[in-house]
Structure formats: structure tokens, C-alpha cells
């Protein structure tokens, strides 16, 4: 495509099917404690 560059291949919707195992880190266990940022956490099952 000439007018657009897509930065990612992932689709959040696909993660709804295989996700939700609950084993990943709670956001406040990283460095938060006064805010909430979830998107910067890692998936426990990411290769």
C-alpha cells in the first residue's frame, strides 16, 4: 500500500479467544502503585 504503513499484525479480537488465563502480572506489581497502565504488561504466554 502506498498511503499507509501498518505497524502491527496482531488483532485484539483474536486474543479474546485464547486469553484470560489470569496468570500474568498484576499492573501494580510492576512499578505503578499510583496509576493503572495495563497495556505495558507482558502476556504470560507470549513467545
Amino acid at each position: 500500500m502506498k498511503h499507509v504503513k501498518t505497524l502491527n499484525k496482531a488483532n485484539l479480537k483474536e486474543t479474546a479467544v485464547r486469553g484470560g488465563c489470569g496468570e500474568c502480572q498484576a499492573s501494580c506489581q510492576s512499578a505503578c502503585k499510583t496509576s493503572c497502565t495495563v497495556a505495558n504488561q507482558k502476556c504470560e504466554n507470549a513467545k
Binding site: 500474568c24 498484576a26 499510583t34 493503572c36 497502565t37
Partner: protein, 472 residues
């Protein structure tokens, strides 16, 4: 829903419900904002007319690309997630903030923990028996979860370090018996670190959070010792030693910025110059009447500083001298699943705080507010009505979050801040929302800039940097 913004010369379109991120040219950027699904097969003549200055062929070609992404499901993708909201039910408790000490040897002005005692009026350390009971409680309440997280928190945890060591020993024994995996974190001001303690922490703690605000004068203005003197010189060399000996283990130097240092990027750079490459510097959360508090009036300056920091990070990564800034970390391909993003922080449902007395609260920030006490570790009983309320405080439970473009990044925000500053855990705290949105925009822009290197065939040149600085 799409979110379109321009930053640092990039036109960026985020497709909210697929997570797709597109860097586009000016014509695409303009056309995308004109359209709403469902898209027709052919480019609407009104668009060809309106954007005639670009030429019919270019408009139709660009429309064709928009249509292709739409068909692929990465532009204007529908919101199908309400169906998953019913999965936001009671969960096992798998993370605990253990208040090992309700006392501290510092008197930081902005401390949300009331300089250690959480406003309770009595300073105390957690007895070992309470700590062991908390481990039993967590194992029992975690049901089928294997990975259990426990943060030694305070106050200052090093004031009760012998108990920390004994609790770790006990948990290691219990995890073998129960098939669990404990991941410990310790959050410390570092003043009481010794070589032995550093070795223990580096051996046993999955993560370490080291509190420092940045430049000495900035740190010492708000992070005082009990006698009013600054704390910087008492901990910085110890932090450097800990990190030097830690190898690849997870850690963050973690600071707070206030109205006193709206040039906080300088503090981030200072921390990097001190030898730290995993850095978090967060906005203070405080009553707007306090002199150091951030208010809506500070937003333009903070936004400009976040952008300045983002541009500096891009430059540093290109020069192979990058570092990691916690709030700009984003993984567009392998981040958390959408179920996690819907659930948010998990406070009061899968995360809780335990006081030195053994009382249970939804999280560390609710400690000391008696009406939020949800149980105790001795009886094992929990206020299930309160737990259900927190389980429901997900993105789709919060009316104002449901239609926000950033909902899958902040996941509904901090419930404690929502309660304290917006009056309800279900109502977002707008100042925090604005800051979070800006940080997400910066984080995505950094990705766009780092992908903006192409070879002669137009293919992206992958970053050849193999270091912890890269946002994974």
C-alpha cells in the same frame, strides 16, 4: 471507532477495537476521518470532489486502501466486547500487597501512605505470624492460579527485613507443597540497604522497585529524612550497587514528579546517567489544593514534556544508548490479551492488600479507610459483595470508559484514584485519563518513528539494537 492524531510529523490512526495502528499520509488521514462504517464499495463522489486538489486517482486509490483495511478488520472494526463483559466475574486472588511495615524512616511530602502509617496514627511492623498467615491466605484464595505475586510494601519494608526473609523462606516451602510459583517484589527507599540485603533481594525478588525522584535537588525537596535533611545521598550509591549486581533481573527506579519539576524529563535523563536503564517517573496524585499537586492547568506543560521525552528516547535508541521508560512501554503485537485489558488492575478482586494487623483491603491505596476493609486473613472471610463490586469495575462497567479510545490501554484507570478524586470507583479521574492518553499517544508515536527507516526497496529496516532498552 478510530483515534486519529498527529505528533512529531506522523499521522497516526489507531483502530480501537482491533488494536491496529496505522501510520498514514495526509490524504489518508483526512479521508479516514470523513468515513464511518459500513463503507461503500466505491469511493463516495463527495470525497472525490472535496479532495479534488489531491487528484481523483489519488483519492480513489487511497479510498481503496482504507476499504482493504476495513475488510481485513483493522479499521473501523466493530465493538464486539460487551459479550465478554460477563466474563468479568469473581476471580481467584493471585496478587497481594503485603504491608510488612507501617513505619518509614523518610517523611516524603506527597506520600499517599501518610509517611508510613496510612493515616492510622499508629506505626507498627508486621509480626512474622501475620506474614505467614497471609501466605496461607493467598495460597488458599488463589485456587487454580499457579503464579502468585507478593509485593513487600510499606512504609519502608527494610525496617522489618528479618521478617521479610522469614516470610520468603516460608513461602518457598509452601509453594513446593502446593504447586505454586511465588514472584516477590520489594518496594524500598533504599536507605537501609546493606550488601547482604542486596544479595538476598537480588536472589529472591522477581522485581525490585527503587524509589528516587531524579535529580538530587528535586528528590531532596520532597523526600526528606525524619530530621528534614535530604535522602538522596543515603540511597543512590546503594541503588547503583544493587542494580550493578542484579544482572538481567527486573527492576525499576521509580520516581514521582510534581508541580515542582514539570521538566521531569531531566530527572529521567539524570537517572539514566546514574546508570539505570529501567525507569519509571510518574505524576503525583494529590489533593489539588496542595502546593505540589498537578492540576488541569499543568496539562499543556506536562504534555509538552512527555513529547520532549519521547523524542529524546527515539534519538537515544537510534544512537544505541536507549533505555526503558515504563509509561512508554507498549507491545503492539504481543501485549496482554483483551480479557486482561477489560479487567484492569484487579484491585479488590484478584489483587488485595494486607495490613500488619492482618486486615484485607482492595488495594494498598484503600488501606486506612475503615469502610473499605473487606476482610481479614485469620477468619479468611471476605466481603463478597465488595469483591463483586470491584470485579464489575471493568472497562464496560464504567460508562465513561466504554466509548473512550484509550480503554484498552489504561483499562478503566486506578480504582482508588477514581474513588478519591472522582467520588466513585466506577467514575474515571479525568486528570489521570488525560495523562494516560498522552502517554499512549507518545508510546505509539515512538513505535512509528522507530519503524520509519526503510531500505531502497521500501522495506522497513529492523532495529539491530539488542538491549533492554527496546520496548518489548
Amino acid at each position: 471507532m478510530i483515534h486519529c492524531y498527529q505528533m512529531n510529523g506522523y499521522n497516526i490512526i489507531l483502530d480501537v477495537h482491533s488494536g491496529g495502528v496505522h501510520v498514514v499520509d495526509e490524504l489518508f488521514y483526512r479521508l479516514a476521518q470523513e468515513l464511518e462504517p459500513p463503507l461503500p464499495e466505491a469511493c463516495p463522489p463527495t470525497l472525490v470532489e472535496k479532495y479534488a486538489a489531491y487528484g481523483r486517482e489519488a483519492v480513489e486509490e487511497t479510498y481503496g486502501e482504507i476499504l482493504e483495511l476495513y475488510r481485513e478488520g483493522s479499521l473501523y472494526s466493530p465493538d464486539d466486547y460487551a459479550a465478554f463483559a460477563d466474563r468479568m466475574v469473581l476471580s481467584p486472588i493471585k496478587a497481594m500487597c503485603l504491608h510488612i511495615s507501617h513505619d518509614c524512616n523518610l517523611r516524603c511530602e506527597y506520600c499517599f501512605a501518610g509517611t508510613g502509617d496510612f493515616g492510622t496514627g499508629h506505626r507498627m511492623e508486621m509480626p512474622l505470624e501475620v506474614g505467614k498467615k497471609a501466605i496461607d491466605f493467598l495460597i488458599e484464595k488463589s485456587e487454580n492460579r499457579r503464579n502468585l505475586e507478593l509485593d513487600f510494601f510499606g512504609g519502608e519494608p527494610l525496617m522489618n527485613f528479618e521478617v521479610v526473609k522469614e516470610i520468603v523462606r516460608y513461602a518457598r516451602q509452601r509453594e513446593k507443597e502446593c504447586g505454586k510459583n511465588f514472584r516477590f517484589t520489594i518496594t524500598t527507599n533504599g536507605t537501609l540497604l546493606t550488601d547482604d540485603r542486596i544479595d538476598f533481594i537480588n536472589r529472591e525478588m522477581h522485581n525490585v522497585v527503587l524509589s528516587v525522584d531524579g535529580r538530587k535537588e528535586i528528590n531532596d525537596r520532597v523526600r526528606h529524612r525524619v530530621d528534614g535533611s535530604g535522602s538522596y545521598d543515603a540511597f543512590l550509591p546503594k541503588f547503583q550497587k544493587l542494580v550493578e549486581r542484579r544482572g538481567d533481573g527486573q527492576y525499576y527506579v521509580r520516581g514521582t514528579f510534581t508541580k515542582y519539576n514539570l521538566d521531569f524529563a531531566e530527572d529521567v535523563l539524570h537517572l539514566n546517567r546514574c546508570g539505570f536503564d529501567q525507569i519509571s517517573v510518574e505524576p503525583v496524585v494529590a489533593d489539588p489544593k496542595l502546593p505540589y499537586a498537578l492540576t488541569e492547568a499543568d496539562l499543556p506543560a506536562i504534555f509538552a514534556e512527555y513529547e520532549r521525552l519521547a523524542k529524546m528516547l527515539i534519538q537515544r535508541r537510534r544512537e544505541h544508548t536507549g533505555f526503558n521508560f515504563f509509561h512508554f512501554m507498549i507491545d503492539l503485537d504481543q501485549g496482554p490479551c483483551v480479557i486482561k485489558r477489560l479487567r484492569g488492575c484487579g484491585a479488590g478482586n484478584e489483587y488485595c492488600a494486607v495490613t500488619p494487623d492482618g486486615d484485607v483491603y482492595p488495594c494498598h491505596q484503600f488501606v486506612g479507610q475503615e469502610e473499605w476493609k473487606m476482610g481479614d486473613i485469620f477468619s479468611g472471610r471476605l466481603d463478597m459483595e465488595m469483591k463483586r463490586r470491584f470485579a464489575a469495575s471493568n472497562v464496560y462497567g464504567k460508562e465513561e470508559c466504554r466509548d473512550c479510545w484509550a480503554k484498552f490501554y489504561c483499562s478503566g484507570g486506578c480504582n482508588a484514584n477514581n474513588h478519591t478524586y472522582a467520588g466513585d470507583i466506577m467514575r474515571p479521574y479525568h486528570l489521570a485519563c488525560e495523562l494516560e492518553k498522552k502517554r499512549v499517544e507518545c508510546a505509539i508515536m515512538i513505535k512509528a518513528a522507530l519503524a520509519d527507516r526503510t531500505d531502497e526497496t521500501g522495506e522497513t529496516i529492523p532495529c539491530d539494537q539488542d538491549c533492554a532498552a527496546c520496548v518489548k
